[in-house]
Symmetry: C2
Subunit: 217 residues, 2 copies
């Protein structure tokens, strides 16, 4: 069974690697990174490149699709090759998923019209512009579409999906295998909880990234 | 300021990418993946390859070292090139860190003798064989050495390190940027918490991986 993770210039690494680390452990499933053209694909900050061997057209009908986000997802909302691939893959997929601003791509493909969905907290308005009904839940299931909140939420989404596919015990064994017993040193992972100084810093960075600056903070 | 993450054949992706995602956002720091030879480096399950441009010898004295784990770390305990590089880098580093079985490499380099340290829950005995005193804390600080538990613990470690380097507000802004407000669907991320069926499944996989099988579960 094939799990396809499409990558594109300026994706966010953890959006893709969190779900990969969980879903690659599912017995009987293979994760394949795909891109418009085979070759290395660079992340948002240009410090990491993933070697991709498989073109979008080489894997048109995976059982599972997971679209990561990143600042590059804004351009992907208008990228015919990716949008067409997502739309086609969704016709026969068992699950179509996104992490962070990957949901903007699902939305641009017309998959979220009228559905509840989520994205990075700073991208809720853009998500709404695709016809989705944004919610601030961390993992949102609507039929076979699952969207996750920002970046690290892909891990929670993937464990949820693993349980749907293979049952709770397998998902729990995967959680144990990656020792996912989170103990962040702060409780600052959402705008509802973070101190104002951190929110201000983070919003400044989100604006700078929108203007083409590298992702810092 | 340079943060070096050495990669090797059969590393675990999230061990490296969790800290990368956090630390690459630190203002003034650059993350560089290094390897014995430049070229693509494959993960434990062979489903992902990271393109590495920088040889170990090209970055001998980074300010921060983060050694990931993975089944390949067992072989790295006897790899002179990596062990020598770690030992040399540690002489001048500001912080020397590991995730998961990356601590076995620090131990093999003689860095953990008599120190408390941690690793993946299934590798505690091997860690002890290097002279370290294994603890089951998720993040263990001993002077400038920080070790983290299995796979996903690198995210918590990196946020702890970010706070040491740049202060709580910056670390909190990074946590907010990656929306790290974990909500796993199960509480099964440590052997103390996981149901026995998940522990049994996971141990079976750990044994199979030791015998050369792909990482599943």
């Amino acid at each position: 069974m094939d799990i396809a993770i499409p990558l594109f210039d300026r994706f966010t690494a953890l959006d893709a690697i969190g779900p990969y680390e969980v879903l690659s452990r599912l017995p009987g499933y293979r994760v394949t990174f795909v891109a418009e053209r085979p070759g290395p694909v660079a992340t948002d900050n240009r410090m990491l490149r993933i070697a991709v061997d498989t073109a979008l057209g080489d894997l048109p009908r995976p059982e599972i699709v997971v679209v990561p986000g990143g600042i590059g997802s804004r351009a992907m909302m208008r990228d015919d090759a990716l949008i067409d691939w997502v739309r086609t893959a969704h016709q026969t997929s068992q699950w179509t998923c996104s992490v962070c601003t990957g949901s903007l791509v699902l939305g641009a493909a017309g998959l979220l019209d009228g559905l509840e969905a989520t994205t990075h907290w700073a991208a809720m308005e853009t998500l709404a512009s695709t016809g989705a009904k944004p919610t601030s839940q961390r993992v949102v299931e609507q039929g076979k579409i699952i969207t996750a909140a920002g970046v690290s939420a892909g891990i929670d989404m993937a464990l949820t999906l693993a349980a749907r596919i293979a049952g709770d015990a397998v998902a729990q064994a995967i959680q144990l295998g990656i020792e996912y017993d989170p103990q962040p040193p702060f409780d600052a992972g959402s705008p509802d909880k973070a101190p104002q100084v951190a929110i201000d810093l983070s919003r400044r960075v989100e604006r700078a990234v929108d203007e083409g600056e590298p992702v810092k903070l």
